[in-house]
Amino acid sequence: MRVRVLLFAALREAVGEKTLELEVRGSATLADALAQLERQHPAIASHRGKLLIALNEERAPLSTALHDGDELALLPPVSGGSHGAWVGCPRDHKVG
């Protein structure tokens, strides 16, 4: 199945794209998609632990299952925020 990935700010510039299309396996979770993205884009890997992941415009834990057509957004930290405010921020996510 296919999901769309939105990139913003520093990450958008580092990757050089505003959106990416990602083909993931049927039972993929957010963590799986992120791992795939990190393999394909070193800039995403280098932001590991700093990003908040939104699924269809809502913060979501990395264990969330994906569905065809889902929209992921990789959100760098905002200027006035502390990491603590980024609920669900995958600081120590395991990439498998």
Binding site: L6, F8, A9, A10, R12, E13, K50, A54, E57, E58, A73, L75, P76, P77, V78, S79, G80, G81, S82, A85
Partner: protein
């Protein structure tokens, strides 16, 4: 980017209007209105700033701002609050964010306005890029 068909926009590439926000919160029972305006300043980290750019994930920013409004209503049921954030290129002195909070009595209006700007800066997906003489960079940490 303008998302809100009537009233003050949540996120807008056009200059913000405090009047539009004041109209949203006005009411005959409101004895105090507190406003906050965040303005682009000419320095950061000891460097002169030429201008800024703001980038938003607009639909999620709107959702997060609505959550702040809900949070205000939970804490201060009699407060009415409205907010707008600018995106795009901003010059020194231009308003980047505006909030208006109205309450029957001033104490709640002050508290709610402070709460809202602090939450907004921490939770709303809007990013700031500073353009200084030495280069440009996205601001990712709270100084």
């Amino acid at each position: 980017v303008t998302i809100r068909s009537q009233g003050a926009p949540w996120v807008d590439s056009a200059p913000l209007s405090l009047d539009a926000l004041l109209r949203e919160v006005a009411g005959p029972e409101m004895g105090g209105v507190v406003t906050f305006t965040g303005v682009v300043r000419n320095h950061a980290r000891g460097e002169a700033i030429d201008h800024l750019e703001y980038e938003a994930f607009a639909p999620m920013a709107e959702k997060e701002m609505r959550k702040i409004v809900d949070g205000v209503h939970e804490r201060w049921p009699h407060v009415r609050i409205a907010m707008s954030h600018r995106v795009g290129r901003l010059a020194i002195g231009e308003a980047a964010v505006m909030i208006a909070a109205a309450a029957p009595h001033r104490a709640e209006a002050f508290e709610a306005c402070r709460f809202a700007i602090d939450r907004l800066k921490a939770t709303v997906p809007i990013w700031k890029k500073e353009f200084a003489k030495s280069g440009s960079y996205w601001v990712e940490e709270n100084p």
